[in-house]
């Protein structure tokens, strides 16, 4: 599936819930399906800066696609990174770089988080895109 299609799917899923308590529960559920980062990569270098809780992300190229794995010590953050990874993992670096991130606004996540936490979310997206940029140069 293309990034855009996955994002539409996520927007649809989130629109099914009436309130944020249900959405948080769903995010916690999504966190459980997060492809976990190998313990060996859970180093300080792989922590995303700008998040209040710890978030580790690792990326590697499989064939011509970038595969992300991650983890967090907070379960809601784990849900957030799981949503992002679902949208961006297993895609070509070029597509990740060019992908829009409006779906975050559409599910209302950014406006629902406090400014510090919303900044953390932006940092996560930025980090995923940075990985894509780094691997894109390798492909060339």
């Amino acid at each position: 599936m293309q990034i855009k299609e996955i994002q539409e799917e996520i927007i649809d899923e989130f629109s099914m819930f009436d309130d944020w308590m249900q959405r948080y529960e769903y995010m916690i559920e999504l966190g459980k399906s997060l492809p976990l980062i190998d313990e060996a990569y859970k180093t300080d270098d792989n922590i995303i800066k700008g998040c209040q809780s710890k978030v580790w992300v690792h990326a590697e190229l499989k064939d011509d696609k970038l595969v992300f794995t991650a983890d967090s010590d907070a379960i809601i953050t784990k849900g957030i990174i799981a949503i992002l990874i679902r949208a961006f993992s297993n895609q070509k670096p070029k597509d990740i770089i060019e992908a829009e991130t409006d779906f975050i606004d559409e599910i209302g996540l950014k406006e629902h988080l406090s400014p510090t936490r919303a900044n953390g979310l932006v940092s996560m997206i930025k980090q995923l895109k940075l990985y894509a940029v780094a691997y894109q140069t390798q492909i060339k």
Partner: protein, 232 residues
């Protein structure tokens, strides 16, 4: 114990002037260790600052004693009253404090406006921090004569709307009565503390004997971020 707003500006001042920042330690309950404070003071101490009430722990600091000791070595005192002002009425003259600050947004008022109380003798000594219209008596290209207090510190067009709105907010709080507010909050603090302690694995940070209605806590095994998000 301290808010960043009462740390960072002083660190910037230290960088600029070479002054040294010394920190009064606190105990496990979240109270300043007054014996250590007394030892930190010397005739080199220029300024002592702390908050009246800690926004993180709720601790009410013994500012009367802090001010008296600081004055004993000739140091000035600035008290950050942002967290205290909505809960405690501070009699700045009885306290003999040199500077006392508070923020309107903590008192049902608008953002971007607040109060800096300063003793007249200090405010006369201090230079203007901004230059512009309305803060002058006479301007020539050779020399400018500054206006008297408070105009010296009010360069340009002030935040008029903010000031009026803050006034309305203070009238509102006075209408309820600070004494009644404090009494009700003390009741709520006791009740909330009792009920929270029933939750297994919950730990409260800041158990000072003298505190206002702030409760910081963690629950064992749960990330504070998660609790904050769910409660928020």
């Amino acid at each position: 114990m301290e808010h960043h707003s009462n740390i960072v500006p002083w660190q910037m001042l230290c960088e600029r002037t070479g002054a040294i920042l010394k920190v009064i330690p606190m105990n496990k309950e979240g109270e300043l260790v007054m014996e250590e404070y007394a030892e930190l003071l010397s005739d080199k101490t220029k300024l002592v600052f702390c908050n009246h009430v800690s926004n993180a722990l709720g601790t009410i600091n013994p500012i009367a004693e802090i001010i008296k000791k600081a004055h004993g070595v000739g140091a000035a005192v600035l008290i950050d009253g942002a967290q205290a002002a909505p809960h405690i009425v501070a009699d700045v003259q009885a306290l003999d404090v040199d500077f006392y600050t508070c923020s309107a947004h903590k008192m049902c008022g608008p953002t971007g406006v607040g109060i800096l109380y300063g003793k007249e003798e200090w405010l006369k000594k201090l230079p203007p921090y901004q230059g512009g219209g309305e803060m002058i008596v006479e301007v020539t290209f050779e020399k400018t004569t500054y206006a008297d207090l408070p105009h010296k510190f009010e360069a340009g067009t002030p935040n008029i709307c903010g000031g009026i709105a803050f006034g309305a907010a203070l009238d509102y709080m006075h209408q309820i009565g600070f004494k009644d507010i404090a009494g009700y909050e003390a009741e709520l603090l006791d009740y909330a503390t009792q009920e929270l302690l029933k939750i297994e694995g919950l730990k409260i940070y800041g158990t000072a004997k003298n505190k206002t209605s702030v409760i910081s806590f963690n629950i064992e095994g749960i990330h504070p971020y998660d609790i904050g998000t769910i409660l928020g």
